[in-house]
Amino acid sequence: MTQKKISAVPNVATPSAPVIFNPDICDGCNTCVEVCQIDVFMPNPEKGKPPIILHPDECWYGGCCVNDCPRPGAIKFNWPLQQRGYWKNKATGEVHQI
């Protein structure tokens, strides 16, 4: 579908989304905003909405945002492609990746 209006914006940082919020579960409590030592997030201007990922490129993958979230499932890690680990089923030899 063609979009009506295209703005000129700079390149999207990599990764663009180190985490993915589930807006149905997240109640915008901003715990993740506070525990992140990098300040990757900012509170959403609309109260009750998931935070905005403002500095995704600075994410250090510390994981506190997910580990300390009081609402399980509200925020999920989304590893960038280059950082997805591998494993192999010992019996079948089948290789998997995160």
Binding site: P15, L54, Q83, G85, Y86
Partner: protein, 649 residues
């Protein structure tokens, strides 16, 4: 609508800055003890000073609840020979650890004497240090009476010490029982309870504030330290702290050689917030630094996490046998009970595997054979060691959710798979730091240092024990000293420096500056070290200072924070090179090899080189390798009043 771009797309405009803007506005805080850096050492320093009944302020760039060089968790409580299951004398163990050249015997003695008390205090606060839920009954090293989980690390072998690959016999352990000096802990519980205890004791916490400079008496270099300045990285507000004693605990610098401003996984293993701020502040104020020339090997950052990256004989793979792609066992140590805690393969073993790969004897990639482990040991490694270790907690979670089953699946190891690539670059600076005495006082009056802020940094329990100790000593100093008047001129000078980048809206931004500094170090201060390259590096860094720094711009308080961090790194890089120039010899323990001075560790150079600024000029000095004297006697002479585990009121 969670990314900035999706917000922009939907709303047609960028969101407003979410915090009030207070550039140039001042807030003044008066305190007895000021702690700069809210990681493990800083929290402990604040707690310990506050227990003495003094006013304490704690300044932290991130949020104290999870910030710090060690990351948000902790996997092992190392070097705890005073624990009841240990079979070695704490002083003898400390002496053994301090046999490593260019270590910090003072910090080690404090760690070995006091870190078990520190651990028990963590338990009082709510930290988990025992298997209270009986999840690991039957695991080797679990003591059923105390429910402590002893780690196989260092049980017989201490492979950090190059000449101690073989089991070491201690006088205090003549029968060579297992040393039992390392305890497995639930470290992800630690930081939040430390912050809570700070608050309970009335410590004033200033989160999201980056300290930018130390204030000295009369504003002169070398003067007594009487406070610090800072800037809030959300509001841009300027902070002036006045203190009787100040403790620096901001760790070293982690990304001078390698920075990816995008994709932290291509960076050094250290958190990107570790930018040597405290070391640079101390340097500008005139304090002595040492071992700044010490080099290591770059370890790629989180994502796979450094330990997953090397993938063998370390916490992540404790007790995990390493196999090749065909299931053939590799001769790598596994830091397990079977090899008595050996952590790092000898160069011979590494070479054997490297040659084996080329000859087809070992097939890449290698794997951690979790399924081969007894179930309780597998659980202890996967859930406890990995689940509680700093940034690996989230990795475990992700693997589990993606369907990885340690009872069924081999976990890929990244050792050798990249050959000799970026991780082999030399890095320096992390082994260096501030020189301290037996009070953990720096060479400046009123200034103390703790944790990895000091020279020759160690681990989590070292940071905790030395932080706790520095807090005690700084409090004693603060009790007997009056306040001094700060120099307005010094404050104004710093304000002008701090806010310069926000006066511009174009020029050089922080990412470009950071990468520019890293490139200089990669070209001129890498594997091939020599005086002429050092001089070139200094010239280029000076040029960056003269030509690019005046163009540095920051559009908001966060970008100002990153810009100021880069300025720390720019100074830090120059300190490293000055220290390297001063050591006119190569050294194996410092991993420092000069082409123009190739002889390794000539006896006349077996000494610490100290470095400081005096009237703006670099001045070097030297100290004997064990300048701290007899560790046991020195410690005891200065800690007669030590009361052991804190009795919580």
């Amino acid at each position: 609508m969670s990314t900035w771009h999706s917000y922009f797309k939907e709303k047609g405009q960028a969101p407003d800055w979410p915090y009030p803007i207070r550039f140039e506005q001042e807030q003044e805080i008066d305190t007895d003890v000021l702690v700069i850096g809210g990681g493990i050492a800083g929290c402990w320093a604040a707690i310990s000073a506050a227990r003495q009944g003094l006013n304490v302020a704690l300044v932290e760039k991130g949020d104290t609840v999870r910030s710090g060089a060690g990351g948000p968790g902790c996997d092992h409580w190392c070097n705890a020979p005073a624990n009841p299951l240990s079979n070695v004398d704490p002083d003898e163990w400390a002496q053994h650890m301090a046999d490593r050249p260019y270590c910090n015997g003072i910090g080690i003695q404090i760690q070995c004497r006091e870190n078990f008390d520190t651990l028990l205090e963590l338990e009082q606060m709510g930290g988990k240090i025992r298997d209270t839920k009986d999840e690991y009954v039957g695991a080797e090293g679990r003591d059923d009476k105390t429910k402590f989980m002893i780690s196989p690390r260092y049980t017989k072998v201490h492979s950090y010490v190059p000449w101690a690959i073989k089991p070491t016999t201690f006088k205090s352990n003549p029968d060579q029982k297992l040393n039992n000096v390392v305890i497995r802990v639930w470290g992800s519980t630690f930081k939040p309870v430390l912050k809570k205890e700070c608050k309970r004791l009335g410590v004033k916490i200033f989160d999201r504030v980056m300290a930018t400079s130390l204030l000295t008496e009369k504003g002169v270099q070398g003067g007594r330290v009487i406070g610090a300045t800072g800037v809030n990285n959300r509001t841009g507000e300027f902070m002036i702290f006045k203190s009787k004693a100040t403790i620096l605990s901001t760790a070293g610098a982690g990304s001078i050689w390698l920075i990816s401003t995008e994709l932290g996984g291509y960076c050094n293993m250290m958190s990107r917030t570790i930018t040597g701020d405290g070391t640079v502040m101390a340097w500008k104020a005139g304090a002595d630094l040492t071992t700044m020339e010490s080099s290591g090997v770059l370890r790629i950052a989180t994502g796979h996490k450094h330990k997953w990256y090397t993938g063998a004989g370390d916490a992540s793979y404790e007790n995990v046998p390493l196999v090749d792609a065909n299931g053939k066992r590799l001769p790598l140590p596994i830091q397990g009970w079977v090899d008595a805690g050996a952590m790092v393969a000898s160069p011979e073993v590494d070479n054997k595997i490297r040659e084996g790969i080329l000859k087809g004897e070992y097939a890449l990639p290698f794997y951690g054979d979790f399924p081969a482990m007894p179930e309780v040991e597998r659980k202890a490694t996967w859930n406890l060691m990995l689940g509680e270790e700093s940034t690996t907690k989230i990795i475990i979670k992700t693997f589990n959710e993606a369907g990885y089953n340690p009872g069924r699946d081999l976990l890929q190891s990244y050792k050798f798979i990249e050959g000799n690539s970026l991780p082999q670059w030399g890095e320096a600076g992390y082994g260096g730091g501030i020189l301290v005495d037996w009070d953990l006082k720096t060479t400046l009056d009123g200034l103390y240092a703790a944790g990895t802020q000091m020279f020759a940094p160690e681990d989590h329990s070292y940071a905790a024990a030395t932080g706790r100790y520095a807090g005690r000593k700084a409090a004693a100093y603060a009790r007997q000293i009056g306040k001094s008047k700060i120099s307005r001129e010094q404050v104004d000078r710093e304000k002008a420096r701090v806010y310069a980048p926000i006066k511009r809206t174009s020029g050089v931004e922080w990412k470009e500056l950071h990468a520019g500094i890293a490139r200089v170090m990669q070209y001129y201060v890498s594997e091939f070290k020599t005086g002429s390259l050092f001089n070139m590096a200094l010239d280029v860094l000076k040029r960056i200072e003269g030509e690019s720094v005046p163009l540095l711009f920051a559009l908001d308080p966060h970008k100002l924070l990153r810009s100021l961090e880069d300025l720390s790194l720019l100074t830090y890089a120059q300190i490293i090179i000055q220290a390297m120039k001063a050591r006119k010899a190569s050294s194996a323990p410092l991993n420092f090899r000069r082409i123009d001075y190739p002889a390794l560790d000539p006896p006349e150079w077996n000494k610490f080189i100290t470095i400081k600024q005096e009237n703006g000029k670099v001045k070097t000095g030297e100290l004997p390798l064990t300048f701290w004297g007899n560790m046991k006697n020195q410690y005891e002479a200065r800690n007669k009043d030590y009361t052991g585990v804190y009795k919580r009121k």
